[in-house]
């Protein structure tokens, strides 16, 4: 009776790879991303100026619209995720829902990047008011959280709650960023291009 090491119980043998150990490396990388962004924003002297995008009246309006676009696509993210997980009553997930979810996420992320670069380069990590401090902290956290989400996405064998929780965190953080920037901007200066 030679016992082959893997034959009888292939599934239990994989169990020792616990959820925590699968999450630790992505979480550390995400934390590092957030930390690096925050330190850069704090150490780098804000220039007050950065590359501008044509067609808008000021960097503030560009950023506000880009951030609003990112937030809109993030809402698509939440809705499509709910459909995928069958949480919307009487709606069965269509075949294209996964593609919609992936592409809306990619677009939202790519819209957010120029905004973050302008923030980091021109304005820096600031704390002269609660709004600004919250925005600085959550702005750094967002890219950390998004990195974690992207890194754990390809991992199989994760418990079912992990991805929804990660997605919810990313979405919530983005909404806080939007509320402390674009929403504030539009409600202070009016909605304009």
């Amino acid at each position: 009776m030679t016992a082959p090491p893997t034959a009888p119980y292939p599934l239990p043998r994989k169990r020792p790879v616990s959820t925590a150990s699968m999450l630790i490396v992505p979480s550390l990388i995400g934390a590092l991303v957030a930390l690096v962004l925050g330190i850069y924003g704090r150490v780098h002297s804000p220039t007050g100026i950065a590359i501008n995008i044509a067609g808008f009246s000021s960097p503030g309006t560009v950023k506000s619209w880009l951030a609003t676009g990112a937030t809109a696509f993030a809402i698509v993210q939440v809705v499509s995720a709910l459909v995928m997980y069958g949480k919307v009553p009487r709606v069965t997930a269509p075949s294209w829902i996964g593609g919609l979810h992936r592409w809306s996420g990619r677009i939202a992320f790519l819209l957010a990047v120029p905004v973050a670069i302008h923030c980091l380069y021109a304005l820096g990590f600031q704390q002269y008011s609660t709004r600004v401090l919250l925005h600085s902290v959550f702005g750094c956290l967002f890219f950390g959280a998004f990195t974690v989400k992207m890194l754990i996405l390809p991992k199989r064998d994760l418990p079912g709650w992990v991805l929804p929780v990660a997605g919810a965190v990313v979405f919530t953080v983005l909404v806080v960023i939007w509320l402390t920037s674009a929403y504030w901007f539009f409600s202070t200066f009016g909605i304009k291009r």
Partner: protein
């Protein structure tokens, strides 16, 4: 292959970030263009392996290199190396703000209209010798709580003795590009909340002209010039912001 798409998303975002950061660095009228372009060139290569790390590394060594390359100041015992001073000039016709950060100092004097000047320079033996465009210059001695000296801008001479400020009072600046010209606004906010500011309409010119700056909204840190919104940042020797 399909499993790697989230990673590709991350790297695409990181690459976009690096490109924008380098473009911004190249577009910024900097007093040290050499170090900026050198940093941009060196950061272009290692952009792919780690998502965000290359974004931070190029700029900070460049900044620290330029500051450490400066002649190191002898340790000043009684004078703080990081402080902000602001107050009215003698006669009350304007305000002056001085921010000291290590061995560097930035000063701004302005009468809220056409007389104004930005000055930069080094701290030497507790003395400030700062110069700017339009032959603006400031000489002062500074101590724990006070800066005393003379400043001249646009041919107007002021003597002053101003104290340290804290929190929201002090010096603020904002710049923006409008039709290829850089406009630069400066505000001096005093402890009692009064502010005075001027705005250079072509800050890159050798003899910039100034007009009265729009009010700086301290709650939002913004000021509006026509349809343009200026975002102000503090020029603080304490935090190093604006240096």
């Amino acid at each position: 292959m399909k499993r790697n798409t989230p990673l590709i998303t991350l790297l695409a975002g990181a690459a976009l970030g690096v490109i924008l950061l380098i473009s911004s660095m190249l577009a910024t009228p900097s007093s040290a263009p050499v170090s900026y372009s050198a940093a941009a060139a060196s950061s272009a290569a290692p952009s792919s392996p780690a998502p965000a790390a290359p974004e931070s590394s190029p700029a900070s060594p460049a900044a620290s290199a330029s500051s450490s390359a400066a002649p190191s100041p002898e340790p000043t015992r009684t004078t703080p190396t990081r402080a902000n001073y602001a107050g009215r000039v003698g006669g009350g016709g304007g305000s002056v703000a001085v921010s000291v950060h290590g061995d560097k100092a930035v000063a701004y004097v302005c009468n809220g209209s056409t007389v104004e000047g930005w000055m930069r320079g080094k701290v030497q033996n507790g003395k400030l010798v700062l110069t700017g465009k339009n032959k603006a210059h400031l000489t002062a001695s500074y101590h724990a709580g006070k800066v005393t000296g003379d400043v001249e801008a646009h041919g107007t001479d002021y003597s002053f003795s101003v104290s340290t400020v804290n929190k929201s009072s002090g010096l603020y600046q904002a710049t923006a590009k409008v039709q290829g010209k850089t406009i630069k606004a400066g505000w001096i906010v005093l402890g009692d909340g009064t502010q005075i500011g001027s705005l250079e309409t072509d800050a890159d010119s050798d003899q910039p002209n100034a007009v009265t700056a729009p009010k700086l909204d301290m709650a939002t840190m913004t000021a509006q010039v026509g349809s343009l919104v200026l975002h102000a940042v503090p020029v603080s020797g304490v935090t190093g912001s604006g240096f």
